[in-house]
Amino acid sequence: MINDKNSQGIVDIIAEYARKQSLFIMAYGTGCGAIEIPPTLTSRYDAERLGIRGAATPRQADVLLITGYLATKSLKRVIRVYEQMQAPKYVIGFGSCTINGGMYWDSYNTINLLDKYIPVDVYINGCMPRPEAVIAGFEKLKELIQSGNALGWKKYEDNLEEYRENQKKVIVNWQMPDYNW
């Protein structure tokens, strides 16, 4: 496996090339941005021609899309989903709500900064980003994967304590399994 971007061997380059060609999205819509996903995936913008399509379960998925605002209640589910995904996994923060809270910055039940709770590889800004922007975001993610820089999952493993601390600040009643990495 790749440990840092400088140690990309020939096998890694081939693996990353193959990996970026098929990105399976975890079909979990958290906020209003989920409404932009159907036009992206269906015939109008047809993201499948770029190797992007939906997956039914977290264990089959590569990409977790956080589409818009994230309520504290669904943060619990998102963390659970993210930790169930298989190791080369990527997170795309979708819309301004994931970046700085957006129009819900002073809401008592939505988090403001997504990257304090799970690592984010690519942010797509806009409220809401159009399907073109979503596809551009995926293209950026593909670049990062090819160059070996989409290492959010690695960051999560390394800084698990820190992420856990932030997560437990929001989720007071922690009733989830503590995974063993």
């Binding site: 504290t72 619990k76 910055w105 008592y108 988090i111 403001n112 929001v170 009643n173």
Partner: protein, 193 residues
């Protein structure tokens, strides 16, 4: 001329006042009648409206926080399907240790509204079914829809802020600055400093 148009509404007001002595009923406009009553006799008024007057549909239950008067006002909106009249029944309770009669035996759907009001305003409904968490999970602060709940303070304590938005914290002031208008006197006390 106007009275002729409001025949049904005036009959309703009369019927309510005959049935209940401590009740203020007024016709607000066409198809809207408002009645204010003590919370102790509220269930009997609701039963009376449902069984005798035919207001058998409960459209909505709302709660208004009158923090200046120290009151919660609960509004029950009933609907008559054939006469097409909305009947608004209002009852108040103290903000401290607020208790309202539970009416989910009259309309079962009232249970949902009451669970929400219990969680969002902290009003207790004795005998309410389903007293566990409804919408909020792990809530430890005062109920968030109360007007004395400081949302910004809560957000600053519990969530992170990305730096760079200090200029746009108070929307009211920003809009006033941009449009070149003054903030009205009554709105100034709600401005965030």
């Amino acid at each position: 001329m106007e009275n002729k148009e409001l025949v049904l509404e005036n009959t309703l007001v009369q019927a309510l006042q005959e049935g209940f002595t401590r009740l203020e009923a007024t016709v607000k406009r066409k198809a809207r009648v408002e009645a204010k009553i003590d919370k102790d006799i509220l269930p009997s008024l609701l039963l009376f409206a449902k069984e005798k007057l035919g207001y058998n549909h409960l459209s909505h239950i709302g709660c208004v926080d009158w923090i200046e008067d120290g009151l919660f006002e609960i509004v029950y909106i009933l609907w008559h399907p054939t006469e097409k009249i909305n009947l608004l029944i209002k009852a108040s309770t103290e903000r401290e240790n607020a208790i309202m009669p539970n009416i989910d035996y009259i309309w079962r759907q009232a249970n949902t509204y009451e669970r929400e009001m219990r969680e969002m305003f902290g009003i207790e409904f004795p005998g309410l079914v389903g007293r566990k968490d409804f919408i909020l999970e792990d809530w430890q602060d005062i109920p968030p829809m109360r007007r004395d709940f400081d949302t910004e303070k809560y957000v600053n304590e519990h969530f992170f802020n990305r730096p760079g938005r200090e200029d746009a914290k108070d929307v009211r002031e920003q809009v006033a600055k941009r449009s070149g208008e003054d903030i009205p006197e009554f709105a100034k006390k709600y401005s965030r400093k």
